[in-house]
């Protein structure tokens, strides 16, 4: 019989599987719903992990202590977190890099354009797919059995806990796979359009999914239906404004549009709707998905002039350009007069200041609603360029509630049913996001769940021997 069954194939799942073997589980099986070529879930799109450290550590500079990390979390979540679990994640994060390196993961200095993360975030050499490749190689060398193309449709749970997983096969049926313990690390539900629609209404039809198409939330729904306590709001998650021309799935990092704070953003009526210069872009990009989602037809346009060219990370798709604002409006399908009026009003409201994109400068508007509080420069130098924006969902926060051993909570905790990764992210992230914390949660809870599952399997084994 399988000691530890791991459901999922991303970072948390592989951390759980590796950790289970390290803690004495003999037969560990990983069920990945994707094929070998598409394995790794959303983790292949990641690039770093936020790590607590009291002194410089590898490429991580200076120190980033528990309280500062926790404060950052409180700030972005507005306090919607479980302090005990959040602190547990933060403390254990400091041990992650060394463990990761033991399994073949390599780190690098922070990437170009991410200097602001050099103190807090440890970057994977080659990004998340290289990280996942290393974990899979390590898993194979430790004798962990990886089964690809193996989506699980439901769990068999009784009073004694988890009994078996039912694995779909290609013929449309399912087979039963019993195990002594299970770790559910099968991600959120962001690829499930119907579920998004239940949460967001028809607006969800316009959402792009930045990650893989496999996160259908099948086991999240199954667990909640079987009595698992849920945590988090169904509409909360990581939702950014990305290029509207991005692919429906797996657009990943390249679809981001980083020129919002350098220009203005209008909706399809040609109207501005939020302060584009509220704060540094890395601190604000995660609110723009939600902002665009609230606009008619869930579309926005970031508009810049020639002064902004070459000042932001190059977008993957070229923008539409024109010599006048009116011509640009025609090109992107907006009403020329409406856009012309918006730009004129904005230009008239700009107060001259000293432009400096590296600080919260004094370039702002006066008497304009909504205002632009920093980096406000007139749009007066052709060519003018527009990038279309749509909400892009990275991951969702609705999950199952766990205790400090990653045991899924029903009326009581379950002895041998553990969860880790995005499916439990809501325990720490009630809302908002801070870069790299998804991987922190996945790595810490993945390792912990694997360890606890190995111990649970051992207990089962001993119980059986006693009988």
């Amino acid at each position: 019989m399988i000691d530890v069954l791991v459901i999922g194939g991303g970072n948390a799942a592989l951390c759980a599987a590796l950790s289970a073997v390290e803690h004495g589980a003999r037969r560990v099986v990983v069920l990945e719903s994707a094929s070998r070529a598409e394995r790794g879930g959303n983790s292949i799109h990641t690039r770093n992990i936020r790590v607590m450290h009291d002194s410089p550590m590898g490429y991580l500079t200076d120190a980033y202590g528990e309280d500062e990390f926790f404060d950052d979390l409180i700030r972005v979540t507005g306090g919607k977190t479980t302090e005990e679990l959040a602190r547990q994640v933060i403390r254990a994060s400091s041990e992650c890099p060394q463990w990761m390196q033991r399994h073949g993961v390599r780190f690098q200095a922070c990437l170009g354009g991410t200097l602001h993360l050099s103190r807090t975030n440890n970057f994977f050499l080659g990004g998340g797919k290289a990280l996942m490749n290393a974990y899979y190689r390590s898993a194979e060398s430790l004798g962990i059995q990886i089964q690809y193309d193996s989506p699980v449709e439901r769990l068999e749970i009784d009073r004694k806990g988890f009994q078996a997983a039912w694995v779909s096969d290609k013929a449309g049926g399912a087979h039963r796979l019993p195990a002594k313990a299970v770790v559910v690390a099968s991600g959120g539900f962001e690829s499930n359009r119907e579920w998004l629609r239940e949460a967001w209404g028809p607006a969800a039809d316009q959402f792009l999914i930045r990650g893989c198409r496999f996160n259908q939330g099948v086991l999240l729904r199954d667990l909640i239906a079987q009595g698992a306590q849920s945590i988090g709001d169904v509409t909360q998650g990581h939702c950014v404004a990305i290029d509207a021309r991005a692919p429906m799935y797996d657009g990943g990092i390249v679809t981001r549009i980083d020129c919002v704070s350098l220009g203005i953003v209008v909706n399809k009526e040609g109207q501005r709707f939020y302060d584009e210069g509220e704060d540094f872009w890395p601190k604000r990009y995660a609110i723009w998905g939600r902002l665009v989602a609230q606009q008619p037809d869930q579309i926005g346009y970031s508009i810049i002039d020639a002064k902004a060219q070459g000042r932001f990370m190059p977008p993957v798709f070229p923008g539409e350009s024109a010599q006048t604002i009116e011509a640009l409006a025609v090109k992107i399908g907006l009403h020329p007069d409406a856009l012309g009026k918006t730009v004129s009003a904005y230009n008239a409201a700009v107060v001259a200041g000293r432009f400096d994109h590296a600080v919260l400068d004094d370039c702002h508007t006066e008497g304009l609603t909504p205002p632009k509080t920093h980096w406000a420069q007139r749009l007066d130098t052709p060519p003018f360029t527009a990038y279309p924006l749509r909400p892009g969902i990275t991951f969702t926060y609705l999950g199952v509630k766990i205790n400090n051993k990653c045991q899924v909570l029903f009326d009581d905790y379950s002895e041998n049913l553990f969860a880790a990764g995005e499916i439990v992210a809501g325990n720490v992230l009630g809302q908002g996001y801070v870069a790299g914390v998804g991987m922190t949660i996945g790595s810490v809870f993945g390792r912990l769940a694997g360890q606890q599952a190995a111990l649970a399997a051992l207990r089962r084994h001993q119980e059986e021997l006693c009988i």
Partner: protein, 384 residues
């Protein structure tokens, strides 16, 4: 003025595909730590044909970026940087060949290899039979005297044949290198730091720094990085340099010191040549075995003939050279010696038109890269 020396480089299907990939990579940048290509890419927002001929030659084909790529097939972006860069390098080799029309040889790689070999063998054997005159049996006899070596192929004849061809090939490559360097200089006005650049470039070449995927090695048949390819390449490289040194020392002995070959086993030319030959044999065999196992996504299928043919040619040069020395007192020696000379002649003829030139363009590209890196970027991309 540059038009007279520098070929006009236009976008082709190959450079456009590589530029498309770079456009996506430039928005991602996860591979920045692997090699020189990505830091060089990040200094650019547009990927002209010229810049692609630069970036492609920086790529050592280690494969790390392919395996790490979230946009590799089956993703619809279908990014395959190593393959795209290999295809552009083929065009660099053809485009910058001197004389230009012989650049076609790089596009007809099989033909070039076969034709070169035929010419090499026919010339040497014809020469040997003519020189032997009525004494053809000498070509099938064991060496009875020390002098037999030059009985078959007199020293002056060899120098008269190989010297001009070698000089032509070196001259042609120097011209190609000059024209490529002009292209690199046309990319931007960068301030030169010759000493530091030279030191860094030499170190990059000697260590083969960028064939290690950022310190972990280079992929073969799967995503597991290994150092095998780097080791094999450097064995061939070092072996080749030792053989070259052996020939140079022998030439000095001959003309400078009046010492005529063959030399004793413990002499410098012999020691250098034997060590070099052995390194080349082991390195070439290893490289050929590795080439067979290489992941198909990392190679340009239109260059298989050259990849395999070039290494095989080096292998035959080394093996025949070693054998003709080991079997010098047997009847096989004269023929082995002629085979060795034929393959060396083939190599000299093909030098500017075969894979050998990868070292020239890559060396220059690395040099330019090291210059660029010493200059601050012109871009003002902010992360704020």
């Amino acid at each position: 003025m540059s038009g007279a020396f520098t070929p006009i480089v236009r976008h082709t299907d190959a450079t456009l595909e590589a530029a498309r990939a770079m456009g996506i990579c430039n928005s991602c940048r996860y591979c920045e730590g692997f090699c020189a290509v990505f830091p060089a890419m990040e200094r650019r927002l547009e990927f002209t044909a010229e810049s692609m001929h630069f970036l492609a030659n920086l790529c050592h084909n280690c494969g790390a970026c392919y395996h790490a790529c979230q946009y590799a097939p089956p993703h619809e972006f279908a990014i395959e940087v190593p393959k795209a860069m290999a295809a552009v390098r083929k065009e660099t080799y053809a485009k910058f060949a001197t004389p230009g029309w012989l650049g076609r040889l790089y596009q007809q790689q099989g033909v070039a290899l076969v034709a070169g070999s035929i010419i090499g063998f026919v010339v040497i054997f014809l020469l040997a039979f003519i020189l032997a005159g009525k004494e053809t049996e000498k070509l099938f006899l064991a060496a009875s005297t020390e002098q037999l070596f030059y009985d078959i192929t007199p020293h002056n004849v060899l120098v008269g044949l190989f010297g001009p061809i070698f000089l032509f090939s070196v001259g042609a490559m120097a011209m190609s290198g000059y024209r490529y360097w002009r292209l690199l200089n046309g990319l931007a006005n960068e301030e030169a730091y010759p000493l530091a650049e030279a030191r860094q470039t030499l170190s990059d070449i000697v260590q083969l720094r960028y064939l290690d995927g950022g310190g972990q090695g280079c992929a073969q048949d799967n995503d597991q990085p290994t150092q095998q390819r780097r080791i094999a390449h450097q064995m061939v490289f070092l072996g080749f340099m030792l053989c070259f040194a052996s020939t140079s020392v022998a030439t000095f002995y001959h003309y400078g010191l009046g010492l005529v070959a063959p030399y004793a086993m413990t002499s410098l030319p012999k020691l250098l040549g034997i060590t070099g030959g052995l390194l080349m044999v082991i390195g070439c065999v290893a490289a050929l075995v590795q080439r067979r196992r290489r992941h198909e996504a990392l190679t340009d299928p239109t260059q298989t003939a050259m990849d395999i043919g070039f290494v095989t040619l080096l292998l035959v040069v080394a093996v025949s050279g070693l054998l003709s020395m080991v079997l010098r007192s047997t009847a096989a020696m004269p023929l082995l010696h002629l085979v060795h000379l034929s393959t060396v002649l083939t190599f000299f003829l093909l030098m500017p038109y075969c894979k050998f030139v990868h070292g020239l363009y890559r060396g220059l590209a690395l040099w330019w890269h090291n210059r660029e890196q010493k200059n601050p970027t012109r871009l003002q991309l902010s992360d704020g």
